[in-house]
Symmetry: C2
Subunit: 129 residues, 2 copies
């Protein structure tokens, strides 16, 4: 009998929210879709699909660091994830339990007015002096 795994061992949420071009907070959409597709491929390739899910998510509200990914239940946040980063995340973190530190969003950037998160959009060029 296989071991019964309720819930997911890792539930990976990838922001696939789309905003209009030029929005001051940016947009995870296009990059996020490609990142999610790569996660699904890597998870299937390793036979992890029963216990790990790569889930589309609406806006995760860390837009300035997008495409953003959060892995639960451990609540590890990744920022500026590219499709080519995904095999390393799956190998090191999902299969091996070691988050990929170079991509982890620091606490100071999560839900905080960090250097990347502008409070207000920059003024249009014609208003700059």
């Amino acid at each position: 009998m296989p071991v019964v795994m309720a819930s997911f061992r890792h539930h990976i949420f990838i922001c696939t929210n789309r905003r209009e071009p030029g929005h001051p907070r940016g947009c995870c959409g296009d990059g996020g879709e490609a990142v999610r597709a790569r996660f699904k491929d890597e998870i299937a390739r390793r036979g992890l699909a029963r216990t790990v899910r790569a889930n589309a998510a609406g806006c995760l509200d860390q837009c300035e660091h997008g495409p953003t990914v959060v892995v639960y239940p451990e609540a590890t946040w990744y920022g500026r994830v590219r499709p080519e980063d995904v095999p390393e995340i799956v190998e090191s973190h999902i299969a091996g339990g070691r988050p990929v530190e170079r991509l982890v969003l620091p606490d100071a950037c999560i839900n905080e007015p960090c250097e990347h998160r502008r409070k207000k959009p920059a003024p249009p060029a014609k208003e700059r002096t």
Copy 2:
């Protein structure tokens, strides 16, 4: 100085995936959108929006029990959630730390071929005898 809260104290994912009418696994879509709207209202009303997020999600793959909701990092799954259930979830679980047991999906229903999850769609009426 306010206490700095990195990440979210509770990150609530609500399935808002849409399927065509009559799909054998069902569809969380319409109900899920209304549930999410109610979560957002209740969270804002209680001043919890800085530490709690009600997030849209794509298919959470527990469709037969939808609309489905999962709360992380505690990985509490709720099924058949109606908008009118949301104030109780926010009051008891999100604010009070006590999940609403009557709505919690049992482990035997999460990612398992339970009595609610049909392996194959029922045959169309004309094929029934």
